[in-house]
Amino acid sequence: MQNLRHAATEAFNRLGLKQRHLGYEELDDVGDSAFPSGPIQPQWFHTLQVRRLRVQRTRSNSDPLGGKSFEQEFQWRTGLKFGTATSYLNLEKLGEGSYATVYKGISRINGHLVALKVIRMKTEEGVPFTAIREASLLKGLKHSNIVLLHDIIHTRESLTFVFEYVQTDLGQYMVQHPGGLHSYNVKLFLFQLLRGLSYIHRQRILHRDLKPQNLLISYLGELKLADFGLARSKSVPSQSYSSEVVTLWYRPPDVLLGATDYSTGLDIWGAGCIFIEMLQGSPAFPGVADIFEQLQKIWAVLGVPTEETWPGVSELPNYKPEWFLPCEPRMFRNVWKRLGQLPYKAEDLAQKLLHSVPQDRLPAQEALQHEYFGSLSPALLQLPDTVSIFKVPGVRLETEIRDIFSPGRKSRPALAPLTKCW
């Protein structure tokens, strides 16, 4: 270690490029003193409302805009740039997570609503690695079912991700429409979820934290995967991930049993749980206490696995068959009644997604071609990545039962006026 310390310094010295011991003030050119710190001042809100565009120009019929481009003229406010805190205005707090706070905001550049995820900086470690991973992954993801990262604002105290604003999330949507969703809407949501998963899996990325709260729903019904803080891309030496990921309810049995070499099956299991939850209106495996209770809930449906049904299961660290009550596999339709009311295809898909052996779970790409989605327009499978499925004629969200009986909300079935957090 000591050699390592001297190595570079000596080499630089010999080259005559002796390093100086720098004071703080000398490094100001690498800092970002241009950015004002502290909270955004409230009076901006007033200027925002009264501000009007005044452009001095002479009128000309041949060139009505006076040589200026349309975009230039109709900019919300000139001189504002992306990447600076002054370009956005906080409106209200939407939620608070373990390492970030989410605000609803408005962009002063173009007037769009945005979601501002403000990440607290740890003074000891610099930028949190979760933020670095989330930002660098989202930078490379351009898909209509992935939340769009507009901008990143970096100041000394905080790091803010500017996302597109999406009205609600699946968790809230299900709270507003209890007792299960309209079966057609379930199909559309699941299709979009699998479409998003198929895209990120093809990019070698696992989401690792699927739950209804992380699936944003726009007023049209567009579903978007959000919160990639736990996501990571796969590199050559398959590093084992910590098994402390994924909310317990949506955690697959292999991870609960202590497997660390997990793969796309992790996200697929979560998708299957969310499928059931959308139909039933209640979580598929609502474990309360701990991992073993969670496993028991799963075994109550799938049966306790043995070496025959799942080769290699006995080698997993937490596999202790004597701890579990003996359970036989049950028909999904007997456990979740709503599946029995739907054509057989729905149960078949659920069974293929919720398979206890991770390798046997249906990959997202193949699940999209499952018969369950056969009633949807075949054009949906051929959309380019960035085009929403609601661009296909005839695809639209059905009115949920609850909205039919409360006509005041009928006009905007999916739009929740409430706040959301993720």
Binding site: F12, L15, A135, K139, V236, P237, T264
Partner: protein, 388 residues
């Protein structure tokens, strides 16, 4: 999705090649490593155009994709024709020919899938070819336009810093990806930010810090990093530099590791461990040379493997020989580009033991790395390339 890289044939094949430069057929390379990635590209494109019968699901998935999305289809076709252009340039006929040749490419396809899975580059097999295609598409954008360094910097200055980063990286026992990402970030920073000699070491360390946050499970402590820089800089300065670098790079930390291409090729061709370690040694040496920045990761990887193979007279296993049979007329870069890379590598090898920058040399002289840097054949690398 727009694929500008594939629309311009020159860009894909060799961004620095002049138009009139003749693309020599790679007959002489057929038994070496230069062809494999192109061949893999063919497999993918073949799969798209005429999927193997064993995968009806995949076929159903892709065919409509191709039919509907015009840009997509043209991109694929274009890419395919590029990989298959022979010296006469009659790509369309060959395209059809390959499109109907199901047998050989499907074997290669399977090799490819197995290799991707073995290396952990894909989660499940069905995504392997998509992921590889994506790697190939993106990788050409990671070559820089020119090998210039900021004023005041010489290749020697840069080499000293990179050499030191290799030592630090090795001391932390980080994965190879972290090292390649670090140097890549450093290169981009030197291109886009104002750098001074006084903060050069700090910049390098910040790049390593960021790369480790992206790639590693165990993070280094800031104070530890400062200690390694002999406390020339304070913790606060390092964190400020980290923020500065992230901002300058706009949080875009993506990279296609040349090492991945090397390992992929090595796995498919079933070269011996010694050849692979030798190639990894060469590849790591290219980090020291600014002239190598202009080459695409896949070109560097192929050249490194090719040279290792020549130096050690590596033999292919019979099973992989049939793989090369179909790869004969495909290109990764022109022969001239390949020669240029080989010459750079050869010079780096001759200088590797020099006292200023010998970290890689020492690293690869360890027993775990089969002592490849001490191999006697390396002394004759220049005559081998006809440089003496």
């Amino acid at each position: 999705m727009a694929r500008p890289n594939l629309c311009d044939p020159k860009l894909v094949l060799d961004p620095h090649k002049k138009l009139e430069e003749k693309r020599a057929p790679l007959k002489s390379w057929a038994n070496t490593s230069m062809g494999k990635d192109r061949r893999q590209q063919v497999e993918i494109e073949n799969k798209v155009l005429s999927p193997s019968p064993s995968e009806p699901g995949v076929r159903a998935a892709r065919r409509p994709d191709m039919a509907m999305d015009c840009i997509e289809e043209n991109g694929h076709r274009h890419a395919l024709s590029l990989w298959l252009t022979d010296e006469r340039g009659t790509d369309s006929t060959i395209l059809l020919q390959y499109g109907s040749l199901d047998m050989a490419p499907s074997l290669l396809m399977r090799d490819m899938e197995v290799a991707m899975e073995k290396l952990g580059l894909t989660f499940v097999k069905i995504y392997a070819l998509d992921i590889f295609c994506d790697m190939m598409r993106k990788q050409s954008s990671y070559a820089l336009q020119s090998p210039e360094l900021p004023s005041g910097f010489t290749s020697c200055t840069r080499a000293i810093l990179v050499d030191w980063l290799i030592q630090v990286h090795d001391a932390f026992h980080y994965s190879e990806e972290t090292l390649y990402l670090t140097v890549h970030l450093l290169n981009r920073c030197m291109r886009s930010c104002r750098v001074s000699i006084a903060t050069f070491q700090l910049l390098g360390m910040a790049c390593l810090f960021i790369a480790s946050k992206r790639e590693e499970c165990l993070l280094p402590e800031v104070s530890e990093l400062c200690f390694l820089m002999e406390n020339t800089y304070s913790k606060k300065q390092l964190l400020r530099m980290e923020r500065h670098v992230l901002k300058e790079l706009k949080y875009d930390l993506s990279y296609c590791y040349p090492l991945h291409f090397l390992l992929l090729s090595g796995t498919i061709t079933r070269y011996s461990a010694q050849v692979l370690w030798m190639a990894r040694y060469f590849l790591e040496l290219t980090l020291l040379e600014p002239q190598c920045l202009v080459f695409q990761p896949v070109q560097l990887a192929s050249a490194a493997l090719c040279l290792a193979c020549r130096v050690l007279q590596g033999q292919l296993f019979p099973a992989s020989e049939r793989a090369w049979m179909t790869a004969g007329s495909i290109y990764i870069c022109s022969e001239r580009t390949a020669q240029r890379i080989l010459h750079y590598i050869a010079r780096l090898v001759m200088r590797a033991g020099a006292s200023e920058t010998q970290a890689t040399f020492l690293k690869f002289s360890s027993v775990t790395r089969l002592q490849v840097s001490l191999h006697p054949c390396l002394q004759s690398v220049l005559p081998l390339l006809g440089l003496l």
